[in-house]
């Protein structure tokens, strides 16, 4: 067998191995036939932290804001304005917000949609020993401020090992980087 053939054979094997590795996409829903005007500006609420890691919501919300701004899909409302609005209206946001609040927010801040979410799993932050596989699981939804209807929602769970191409190459070792990847994959499914 010539050297070129050997190389091609090796490439095919590597490709098939990489194809075997997990390539899951987020469970996503996008509202079709939505007659409202296009979403231009969104407000992102701090994600509800369902884990024992106190910093998880700051990391995930920060990653979500950063990824949305980078991808330039929507304009993002400054989080300080959202907080200021919630404080002035004496609203506490845990897992969701009521329609009246969303509508008022739309008028006051000039946003077209709000994004709320929840962190289900966040593994790899406190475990200091080596070899811990980071896990991130996030669910999020975008609501229309005029009607309160869900425009988009997604649920996604990935582990650091899901990105292994071959051997240990591609493996994500830090939970922060994994969060960025998970968030990015979710945002890609947005309308």
């Amino acid at each position: 067998m010539s050297l070129t053939r050997k190389f091609i054979f090796l490439l095919v094997i590597l490709e098939s191995i990489s194809a075997c590795s997990s390539a899951t996409t987020p469970y996503a829903y996008v509202r079709k036939n939505h007659d409202q005007p296009v979403v231009k500006k969104v407000a992102i609420f701090s994600f509800h932290n369902n884990t024992m890691i106190a910093e998880a919501n700051k990391i995930v919300t920060g990653a979500f804001v950063a990824s949305l701004v980078k991808m330039r899909k929507f304009k993002v409302e400054f989080p300080g304005n959202i907080k200021s609005f919630l404080v002035s209206e004496r609203i506490i946001v845990r897992t969701g917000v009521d329609l009246n609040t969303i509508k008022l927010m739309g008028k006051r801040l000039g946003v077209d949609a709000v994004i709320i979410g929840r962190i289900e799993e966040f593994v790899g932050m406190e475990q200091k020993e080596k070899g811990v596989i980071p896990v991130v699981s996030i669910s999020s939804r975008m609501l229309d401020v005029r009607t309160g209807k869900i425009l988009w929602m997604a649920q996604h769970r990935r582990t650091g090992d899901d990105y292994i191409k071959v051997l240990d190459f591609g493996k994500v070792r830090s939970v922060g980087e994994l969060t960025k990847k998970v968030v990015l994959e979710m945002i890609k499914t947005m309308p």
Partner: protein
């Protein structure tokens, strides 16, 4: 002539361009020069102190940005009582931009800083346009020392300081060099004067009641000339003492609804800007509508695991904001035995375990439950009185032998209970101890039961010898009666007794005349 025409046309086009910019708020790209950097905090890892703000400031200076001194920034924040990033909002950022001549504000947080064998750093940063408080850039990053390890662990970073330097550089490597600003403030969202606070007190009330309004104004780029506030088409008479806080009173509209406050401000050039929905006023004249839902209305709080508590669910039929609620349970005389109250939202459900306010069990009987609510406007309403029965006493039941003949036994049964009887079971045993008859049913216990008797069996002599004459003659029964509250009476093998003869009153002696004095 042609030359003159050309000059006039050029001037006209230029004027139109400027005018259109003034009317429509044209965008202009401004190079970012000065950056206000909000403190990222100082952290201690092991025995070293790490000033993250300095790391970021150094990186920004390296990228040829001018960073406003922390002293100046802190002075500005202290004057406005802004204690941290979370207190920054649009008026504060715009004011900061104008006061410190900053193009953008950089803020963020350090989410993780771990100094161990494998150091870890996680942080995020956002760049905010000081002109309109829009997010122009954002990034988040997370790095560990292991991320830099290559073949056989070569390149792994073990120093936290070095990892921070690399991470900060990576975090800020794609900062924008310019931002968009609106040349003129014709746009409604960007005004030279910011309304940093507007609110009614109270903000929910009945029609016709008076409410106070307060508005805080911040002059960002231009001086305020006039301010006017409206609810519907009624103007609120505003007064100020310091030129910053404006107050006034208004009588609420009569009809139910949510009314927005509209504010018009004009600057010294007499240009008018409006702020919609600065605050909302809610008029509520009708009482809230509520109901109480019950799964059951019977309770037997005797810790037997059956019906030990009652659960009822309050339901708000009309979606309004409640101020307070009170639930009370009264006895048949109207005396409150148990009550509970709270503010704001109604609880999802209530439990009552048959205790009074002193946490002692209440007596058996009928009780009434009622829920009172008051909305923020002061409208009060209550549910109808809902009946609850407390029954923790087991049924009382007596069984007597009314008649006995060779063919049958007739039993008389008497049962007493507050609640209805759910089911019952009677087993009659003959004199040999064998089961003579078994009767059971649902609902009320019958007043009489006729139990057929089998022909006398030949008694086993050996057993006869051993039995005492009393045992030999006894007819026995077992009884089980359960009421719908779950209280169960159980009698095992008790001798059947004959009805007690009616006690006859002794004849009263007639008063006799005694002649013997």
């Amino acid at each position: 002539m042609k030359k003159h025409l050309f000059i006039v046309a050029t001037i006209l086009v230029f004027s139109l361009h400027v005018l259109s910019g003034r009317i429509f708020g044209a965008d202009n790209v401004v190079k970012i020069k000065r950056i206000a950097l909000m403190p990222f905090g100082t952290f201690t890892a092991e025995d070293i102190s790490i000033d993250m703000t300095r790391f970021i400031s150094d990186c920004l200076i390296k990228n040829e940005f001018e960073v406003i001194s922390q002293d100046i920034l802190e002075n500005f924040l202290a004057k406005r009582r802004i204690r941290g990033t979370e207190f920054l909002n649009k008026p504060a950022i715009r004011e900061m931009g104008a006061a410190l001549k900053a193009n953008v504000l950089l803020l963020g947080s350090v989410d993780l800083l771990e100094d161990c064998k494998n150091p870890q750093v996680a942080m995020n940063a956002q760049m905010i346009n000081c002109f309109d408080s829009s997010v122009v850039w954002a990034n988040s990053i997370s790095r560990t020392g292991d991320d830099f390890a290559t073949f056989l662990g070569i390149g792994r970073i073990t120093s936290l300081k070095k990892l921070i330097e690399i991470t900060v550089e990576k975090l800020l490597n794609d900062l924008p060099s310019s931002v968009n600003v609106i040349v003129d403030m014709g746009s409604s969202s960007i005004t030279p004067i910011e309304i940093s606070h507007a609110g009614f007190s109270p903000d929910v009330l009945k029609g016709g009641e008076t409410t106070r309004i307060s508005i805080e104004v911040k002059e960002i780029t231009k001086k305020l000339r006039d301010i006017r506030a409206f609810v519907l088409d009624s103007e609120i008479d505003l007064k100020t003492k310091d030129g910053r806080w404006y107050t006034g009173t208004i009588s609420a509209p009569a009809i139910d609804g949510v009314y927005s406050l509209k504010i018009y401000v004009s600057d010294r050039w007499n240009r008018l800007f409006s702020v919609n929905s600065a605050a909302n006023l809610t008029v509520q004249n009708s009482s809230p509508e509520i109901t109480l839902l019950f799964q059951k209305r019977l309770i037997s709080p005797n810790n037997d695991g059956i019906n030990d508590y009652i659960q009822f669910f309050p339901e708000l039929l009309k979606a309004i904001t409640l101020e307070s609620w009170e639930v009370e349970i009264t006895d048949k005389d109207g005396k409150v035995v148990r009550s509970e109250n709270g503010f704001g939202m109604l609880p999802a459900n209530f439990f009552w375990q048959g205790e009074n306010n002193q946490y002692k069990p209440v007596k058996d009987g009928t009780y009434f439950c009622r829920l009172f609510v008051q909305d923020k406007a002061g409208n009060r309403t209550s549910t109808a009185k809902e009946k609850i029965v407390v029954d923790k006493t087991m049924p009382e039941s007596t069984v007597v032998l009314a008649e006995e003949n060779e063919e049958s036994l007739t039993l008389l049964l008497k049962t007493k209970d507050i609640s209805k009887i759910a089911d019952w079971k009677v087993i009659v045993y003959d004199r040999t101890g064998a089961e003579a008859g078994k009767f059971e049913g649902k609902g009320n216990v019958p007043a009489t039961i006729v139990c057929p008797v089998k022909k006398k069996l030949k008694k086993d002599l050996s057993t006869e010898e051993n039995q005492s004459p009393e045992e030999e003659d006894a007819l026995t029964y077992s009884l089980e009666v359960r009421d719908i509250a779950g209280n169960k009476l159980r009698i095992e093998r008790q001798p059947l007794k004959c009805p007690e003869p009616k006690a006859t009153e002794p004849e009263k002696k007639k008063d006799e005349w005694v002649e013997d004095f």
